[in-house]
């Protein structure tokens, strides 16, 4: 827990030390020591713009400043300023080189998508191993077979097969979902019989509990 009590963050303004909120000053000092001592030479002469994160009192600020300047040979450029502690510590993770691609979402999928800007007409077949994006409608009689997910920026009236290579995590999105048939992996589904209500908002089809489920993907609609 005490591991990340102190984090160094480089910004375009300069170097900041971020202090974890709930840590007391002694833990912080101990942590600083742990981080800086082994590479003291490296830190010598470095300029610290200011502290962020934990709210410091004037005393604490002066104390830390003294430690940093005397013990480690760095200079604290900034001064005690209440406002600079508004930032939350968590948002200042140092980006280590191998963490550069860590985005704050789940379900991030990276690949090469096929981008088609046209309306697919009856009888036209698209087969692709990755994701497919159609900027246009998919007319009845058209067939899309994708290894990945399929995004249709238009009305979907044809047959779409996502996750054709067995990926049940693939999904299908359309502005208006009026499919002839939807397939994900090897699960096939069609619209309920009878002219159902024409739902005019964008929907997403995905596999839930072994079935293909269609629902709005924007929560408020």
């Amino acid at each position: 827990m005490a591991e990340n009590a102190v984090i160094f963050k480089g910004t375009k303004d300069g170097l900041y030390i971020i202090l974890k909120e709930e840590m007391d000053l002694d833990t912080i000092k101990a942590n600083l020591d742990k981080k800086i001592k082994p590479s003291k030479r490296f830190f010598e002469g470095a300029k610290i713009m200011n502290f962020k994160g934990k709210k410091l009192t004037q005393e604490e600020f002066d104390d830390l400043k003294e430690v940093i300047e005397q013990e480690y040979g760095m200079t604290v450029v900034g001064s005690f300023n209440e406002k600079s502690f508004e930032a939350k510590a968590e948002s200042f993770e140092i980006k280590k080189p191998d963490m550069l691609e860590q985005l704050p979402f789940e379900n991030v999928h990276k690949g090469e998508a096929l981008l088609i800007r046209a309306t697919l007409r009856s009888g036209q077949l698209i087969q692709y191993k990755g994701d497919v994006v159609i900027v246009g409608d998919v007319n009845p009689g058209a067939h899309i077979k994708a290894g990945g997910s399929v995004i249709i920026m238009g009305t979907m009236r044809g047959i779409v097969h996502a996750g054709a290579n067995g990926d049940y995590g693939a999904f299908i999105v359309a502005y208006k979902m009026q499919p002839t048939q939807l397939r994900i992996g090897d699960i096939i589904t069609r619209s309920p019989d009878g002219l159902g209500s024409k739902y005019n908002n964008p929907e997403i089809a995905m596999v839930k509990q072994g079935m293909v489920v269609v629902e709005p993907y924007l929560r408020n609609k």
């Binding site: 009856s122 009888g123 009845p140």
Partner: protein
């Protein structure tokens, strides 16, 4: 160089031949020199609809095979001196010609006539490929039925793949009272799927049966509603802005159709 138009549909029986006969006659009535070419080899009926079936000596395949000259095969219409017909062969089939031969034929005809109109057979195979080979414009005919629209969509895709962009749509045999009741597809839905410019809406008209049997295209008859619709289509082909006919007494739908008028702007 004249315009080479192909009238196609995908689905059979939606009114390609009737449309070809009426548009051709209509253009001739407006003083243009027109030749109609029946590309439905083996199942010819443009000659019947035009009333010229007993004047056929040579046909399309004879011309392509070099058995006769083009002039010998062309039949002058019995009513209009500037309208000609190049009939199909009845005893051969669609493999008797290939697209290259049709291209050459179309080019030759375009030098002589202001409008060359090909009546395309149903389907998407050799007959279709032959008929579209020489064309630079396409008219897609469909009826307000899901099956016909599905086929028309396929055809439009094939036309675009063969370089015939921006085909024009004719919706044929529409029954306004059924559309009002919701029993028949309405025009908006069809255009939503097909997404091409609408050039005309022709109402279902019993008189078409009569005119086909007589060999006199309905366009020349004043009382026929379908004929009136075809007259308007001809004017639009020639570049005029013509408002769509009010095919029913109820204002509601007419206003919507009038809104589609914006789609009828000629390119």
């Amino acid at each position: 160089m004249g315009e080479v138009i192909v009238v196609t549909s995908g689905k059979g029986g939606v009114g390609k031949t009737t449309t070809t006969a009426n548009i051709g006659t209509g253009l001739a009535l407006r003083g243009k020199s027109v030749v109609l070419v029946d590309a439905d080899i083996g199942l010819r009926n443009l000659d019947v609809v035009m009333g010229l079936e007993n004047r056929i000596v040579y046909d399309l395949v004879d011309v392509v095979d070099g058995v006769c000259r083009m002039r010998q095969a062309l039949i002058k219409d019995k009513r209009y001196p500037n309208l000609y017909l190049l009939p199909a062969a009845q005893t051969k089939d669609k493999n008797s010609v290939n697209p290259e031969q049709m291209q050459k034929l179309a080019a030759e005809l375009a030098e002589e006539f202001e409008y060359v109109i090909f009546d395309c057979p149903a389907g998407i195979e050799q007959g279709f490929k032959n008929a579209i080979a020489g064309a630079n414009r396409a008219i897609v005919v469909t009826t307000p039925e899901v099956s016909a629209v599905r086929d028309a969509d396929r055809i439009i895709g094939l036309l675009e793949a063969n370089g015939l962009r921006n085909p024009m749509l004719i919706i044929n045999r529409i029954k306004m009272d059924m559309v009002k009741r919701g029993d028949m597809m309405n025009i908006d839905d069809m255009i939503d799927i097909l997404a091409i410019d609408l050039i005309g809406v022709v109402p279902d008209d019993d008189f078409i049966v009569v005119s086909t049997n007589r060999g006199e295209p309905a366009i020349s008859v004043e009382q026929s509603l379908a004929g009136q619709a075809y007259r308007n289509i001809v004017r639009r082909i020639m570049g005029e802005d013509v408002p769509f006919m009010n095919l029913e007494s109820d204002d509601g739908f007419f206003n919507r159709v009038a809104k589609l008028f914006g789609l009828s702007k000629k390119r």
